[in-house]
């Protein structure tokens, strides 16, 4: 999170992308020179099912304002079933965060295939805009990690 009274708010966003579909989709949006905001940083994981809720909480703790998880479309998982598990885990986690009063928009799951460079860029743009509108993450921050 970078906040300065005089500057506009530039959120920090972490995107977890599965190696086989979404990371390749992100590469494709690069190959096609499709712009999306630079405050989104991608972490490569083998599969969306590798993403532990702990990683997402960790990101919020360390100052992320939004976390998005991208994986293969259901049914297309490289490991056949990974994204199905990821979908359930994330649905329940997001629901719990919502229950605790954390803004719903801060987390998202999107399925992006290796062929969907356009979708990847669009998704990232819309997510970044949503987080910017939500403002800094204050409800789930670790004050000690504040710069």
């Amino acid at each position: 999170m970078q906040v300065n009274e005089n500057e506009t708010f530039v959120p920090t966003i972490v995107a977890f992308c599965c190696n086989w579909c979404s990371y390749a989709g992100a590469d494709l949006s690069g190959t096609n020179r499709l712009q999306y905001p630079s405050n989104i940083k991608i972490i490569r994981v083998p599969c969306s099912c590798r993403v532990n809720p702990m990683f997402i909480l960790r990101a919020f703790q360390r100052g992320a304002d939004g976390v998005i998880l991208c994986g293969c479309h259901p049914g297309d998982c490289h490991y056949t079933t990974g994204n199905y598990y990821a979908r359930r885990r994330m649905t329940l986690l997001f629901s719990m965060l919502d229950y605790l009063g954390i803004e719903r928009g801060r987390t998202r799951v999107e399925w992006v295939s290796a062929a969907e460079g356009q979708k990847f860029a669009e998704t990232m743009k819309s997510f970044a805009a949503e987080i910017a509108a939500l403002g800094p993450n204050r409800r789930l921050e670790d004050l000690r990690c504040r710069k």
Partner: protein, 325 residues
């Protein structure tokens, strides 16, 4: 009931079916009852109690007890305990062959704090009498409506039937409808995000990280808990700030999601009276609504909803599309 249990325990000890018995023993105060292991008829005669203060879930103790190469142990399980036991069985945490289970009925357990709040002090004992409890005190007997002093988890009882047992003492009861059980969660869900945030902030900020909720939880049976393991990257000894209070309870609830049998022990033991069961019950409610009714420990062959899936599962966006913010 207590006498029936004692008698049966002594018979089973005498005929060699079991070598030990796990039940409850009174502590400093009459309402301060803890699980205990009895090895002789004399111990049972002297210390074994069973009354409306015996809320503690004994199933978790059976992990250790059933691993002993020391004959079978007799366990008296309330329906709650039996669900927990069954879940532990599914996770290979207890050895069934080393345990003899007697299912005992439970009409709900008394909450000593509610009794005290009702103005009853100097409690020395409790007895069930129809719809009431008769609480004996140093000042004489007091009669209270059960509904007024039952523990919250018992008012929202998930089941009065045993999913597993070797024999039953007494009759199986009737289950309550689910809406009673989820009323607390539904109430929170109906609030605005701000209200919910404020609610949880005020509750969770009371957490002193005593770990009692974890230590009592029959689903939290890890050999080495992630919060104690420096290599896990999230180990904490004390919750230092609001984030870690959230973090600890979210992670804990997530780790037991799909495995929590909703026995409510976490809330019972919390010295700060944080309604922790509302976190677990939220996961249960979500699972029921999204993936079909599932009761951990019921053992009807349904797979843990977090280790199974269907192709048509709801997308995570269902959370943001729900009713209101």
């Amino acid at each position: 009931m207590q006498e029936m249990m004692k008698k049966r325990a002594k018979t089973l000890l005498a005929d060699g079916t079991v070598s030990r018995v796990i039940g409850w023993r009174r502590g400093e105060f009459s309402y301060d009852v803890t699980p205990a292991v009895f090895e002789t008829a004399e111990e049972i005669d002297r210390d074994f109690v069973f009354d409306a203060f015996c809320g503690a879930n004994v199933s978790k103790y059976l992990i250790r007890e059933s691993a002993k190469e020391d004959g079978r142990i007799l366990a008296f399980l309330k329906p709650c305990d039996a669900f927990s036991f069954n879940q532990l069985l599914a996770e290979h945490r207890v050895r069934r062959e080393n345990v003899y289970l007697i299912g005992i009925p439970c009409a709900g357990k008394a909450d000593i704090d509610r009794i005290k709040k009702a103005g009853i002090d100097g409690v020395t004992g409790i007895a069930e009498d129809g719809e009431d409890f008769v609480v004996s005190t140093v000042y004489g007997d007091e009669r209270v409506k059960q509904a007024d002093v039952l523990a919250e988890r018992c008012l929202a009882c998930k089941s009065k039937r045993h999913p597993v047992y070797d024999e039953l003492l007494g009759e199986e009861g009737e289950d309550l409808p689910d809406d009673v059980r989820f009323a607390g969660v539904a109430k929170l869900e109906a609030m605005t995000a701000e209200e919910r945030f404020d609610f949880w902030r005020s509750e969770l900020s009371k957490c002193i990280r005593c770990n009692a909720c974890r230590n009592v939880c029959p689903a939290c049976t890890c050999e080495n808990c992630v919060f104690d393991n420096p290599a896990s990257g999230i180990s904490q000894k004390a919750a230092a700030d609001p984030f870690e209070e959230n973090m600890y309870h979210i992670i804990r609830a997530f780790h037991v999601a799909g495995r929590c049998t909703d026995c409510g022990e976490c809330s019972r033991v919390c010295p700060e009276h944080i309604p922790l069961h509302l976190l677990n019950r939220k996961f249960i409610k979500d699972i029921d609504e999204l993936y079909g009714t599932y009761r951990a420990g019921e053992d009807d062959g349904t797979k843990n909803p977090l280790t199974s899936y269907t192709e048509g599962d709801a997308e995570a966006s269902v959370v943001r599309e729900r009713g209101r913010a």
